[in-house]
């Protein structure tokens, strides 16, 4: 795929590929709504050039579910009343996936540290914090290491 040099990852996703699950808001890396995973690492798609991602794997909120089965983080966000307008939700979910992939044993402090870079204007955050913790517990319970 050829892209203009100035095209951001968010523009590529939203405008060219019509993957509109990824949202844009502050456009200066403080709100987190545009978070996508590049080779597993959280990146602000609004300020990353698409051309810089040549050869990488980009995961967006659309890519989390397996068919009709939601990712455990999505399940947790559905169950815990974490969203109102939902505009920040994809960013929070992607950041949570990144956190729990990198640190499956993330504790309360890790959650607050990682999630402080995602803004939510509706909920007051407390339900989101709960959902991240629930998702972490569930993913630990379901991880292959625990089945040995």
């Amino acid at each position: 795929m050829l892209v203009p040099i100035r095209l951001t990852v968010a523009e590529l996703l939203r405008d060219r590929l019509r993957l509109t699950g990824t949202k844009v808001s502050c456009e200066m890396q403080v709100c987190g709504v545009c978070t996508v995973l590049v080779d597993g690492n959280p990146v602000s798609s609004c300020t990353t050039l698409a051309c810089d991602l040549d050869g990488t794997e980009v995961l967006t909120v659309e890519g989390l579910a397996r068919g009709r089965d939601l990712h455990p983080v999505q399940d947790a966000f559905m169950a815990a009343n974490t969203l109102q307008c939902g505009y920040c939700t994809p960013g929070f979910i992607m950041m949570t996936v990144a956190l729990l992939d990198a640190y499956p044993d993330a504790d309360h402090h890790d959650v607050r540290e990682w999630m402080d870079g995602n803004l939510c204007r509706c909920t007051g955050y407390a339900p989101i914090e709960t959902a991240v913790t629930v998702a972490a517990d569930r993913m630990r319970a379901e991880s292959p290491e625990n089945e040995l």
Binding site: P4, S25, C122, P127
Partner: protein, 806 residues
Amino acid sequence: MARVRAVKALSVPRRDAWEKVTGRARYAVDAALPNMAHAAVVRSERAHAYITSIDRAEAEAAPGVIAVVTAGDLGDLGLRFGHIVPDHAILAVDKVRYYGEPVAAVVAETPHQAADAAEMVWVDYDDLPALTDAATALASDVLIHEQSYASEGEKFLDVAPGASADNAAHRGELAWGDAEAALASAATVVETTTTFPLVYGYAMETYNALADWQPGSLHVVSTAQHPLMVRKELARMFSLPLAAVRVEVPYIGGGYGSKSYTKLEPLAAAASWAAGRPVKVTTDVEGAMYTTRADGARVTVRTGFDADARITARDINILFDTGAYADNSPLVLTKSINRSFGPYRMPNLRIRGVAAYTNTSPASSYRGFGAPQAALAGELNMDMAADRLGIDPVELRRRNLLAPGDTLIPGKRPLDADLAADLDAVVKALDGHAAVPDAAASAVASADDHDVSGQARSKAGVRRGRAVALTASDAGASPNSTAQVRMHADGSVTLLVSSTEMGQGSRTALAQIAARELCVPLDAVAVGQSDTRFTPFEWTTGASRTTTVVGLAVQAACADLWDALRARAAESVGVPVGDVVVHGGRLHLDADISDTVGGSGAGERGARVADFASVVKGSGSGLAPAEVIRRWFGADAGEVVGVGVIRRAGATEVLPPFWEIGAVGVEVSVDTATGEVTVEHLVTVGDVGHAVNPELVKGQDLGAATQGLGIALWEEMVYDGEQLTNPNLVEYRVPRLRDTPRRITSVLAERGDGAGPYGAKGAGEGALNPVPAAVAAAVGRAVGVWPTELPLTPPRVWSLLQQAQQ
């Protein structure tokens, strides 16, 4: 009407959860049309100036540019909008009135091309004095609007804007008794003046609009909270019938009042008209801050008390910084006046309010609508008075609170809430986790000497303070709602309303009401999005009104649907409609009649009734609505429609439809070395009458209170001269996850005392309104000096601490 089982609140999951966690939910910003072009806005670089020339040649020659549009290019389109005062030009006409005002729009094939070309539009200005402060603007001979756009005699609700010889956008007054005399003879008079900052609602989806003008029609998809209000303005500006203007509002990423009324829609529509293409306009955060903010306010409250600490009078002055255009500020001012004296008995009252035009971003609605501005002064004044009078601030409030059924404002609905009980609930929750006494503060600091960020907390000392605050707001706006329920051949229903789902959960709550009224499973109710071509009339989505007012319309529509089903059941077998009754979600032949027709074989009617009765008896429990539909149409097809209308009549004749209560408590700790404020405990009591969905109500309360904390502690648009210095989310700081209170107590008070369905009243604004005041009072108690200005940033609190030492 259908008989309803015992009313039971259910915290069912949101219906939009799945599409929102999978990224499938369609927001306004995701809307696209074939052949769509994009517009970028050229914004003023002056706060107040005449436009002397606009050089567009370079922009027009730039790659991909389709049109450069200025006010002069708009032909005979209506140039101005404004639902109260039509003072707001789509694109500046001859003059700019604030830094960031739209001067031109550049339409191009791509957003990048439009943005690039917008940089090539050269505007020359002839500067005028910039009036960026409300008091200065009111005193100035320089007029921001040289002419009045108010039509004498025309009113918007209670607001009748008139021409003004100065920079007042609106003036309001409310008075009874003789406040001046009562204050002169009061045992104690306490005066408080506060400054409420300019704040930005920051809905994370910034304003955007997609418009498709075609000869004789206009289609808009936008972030509008009030699509019918936008339709009305667009119809006028484009000389189109209301029916020819279609405003569609899919999910929107937050509103909080900031997306009320008309914003970008006329600009997008004018650009589409000029370019002959569908055109999309999206603001960034900076552009959003130049589109709408909340009114800043300087409020002075003087309260007189008798020897028993009972209020004898209040005199209140409200000065709003309304910015360059009126938008909804005249109504916000009117509401601020109504909401300023608190839920207290007022033998004598005088309130004067002015909304002043200034050369800053235009102000309009924001969650709470004038209540937080006024309550900051009014409730802080109660705490200051308690100190002066040597009374506990809770006791002082109790002594002066209005009781259920009391009159707040003559002619308005009597108080439909028990504020004393709400206050008790707040105090009980605060007491349940009482502060560690100040003497032990240093021990507290060392026991908890690392906060979650890992930063060492100051050992110098922590001081704690707690406060409560109360508000009562005339909410619910104008009762003018229509709901439509369409029941399909299988008994499932589609509910159509023009309430905007902006996160508050209206589609879920209204579906719950419909399901309950029609005795169908919740999954059998679909709710459509607002689309003025298909969904019925709705006044607004604001003023916490949807569950109450639209909920009543949904109930009425369901009752109408049952009537239609009864009529069809009766007609299909030839009995009078009065013989058919509804019970348990099914239609029955009235018991008395079915008893008497059992053995009757005489006459044609008797035979038909016997036939119906046997049908009823055959099914054992009457006819299900779906059976009625199929019998009437003679096919497994067709639908029956019910329509419900709420207007100023019956239960909603007396305004407001309900009083929205705010009852909160906070406990804060203040780091004496840095001035940093931590919210240790937040208590909200949601006095909602009946919670249709308790989890959603609690979500509203916590979200609203958190926005209140933002105003109290961090949020402020800072003007330095003509220009906004912090038009971004780095320097305009909103609450983050690590700012959440260490303890949160959310209580719902359900006393069934509202006019809405099952006794419901509104939620959504109540928990914000008193929070800034409560935080200010709590910080004042912690520090020993009463704050007069928000937000209470560390430098401001540190200054208060220094004052306390002097």
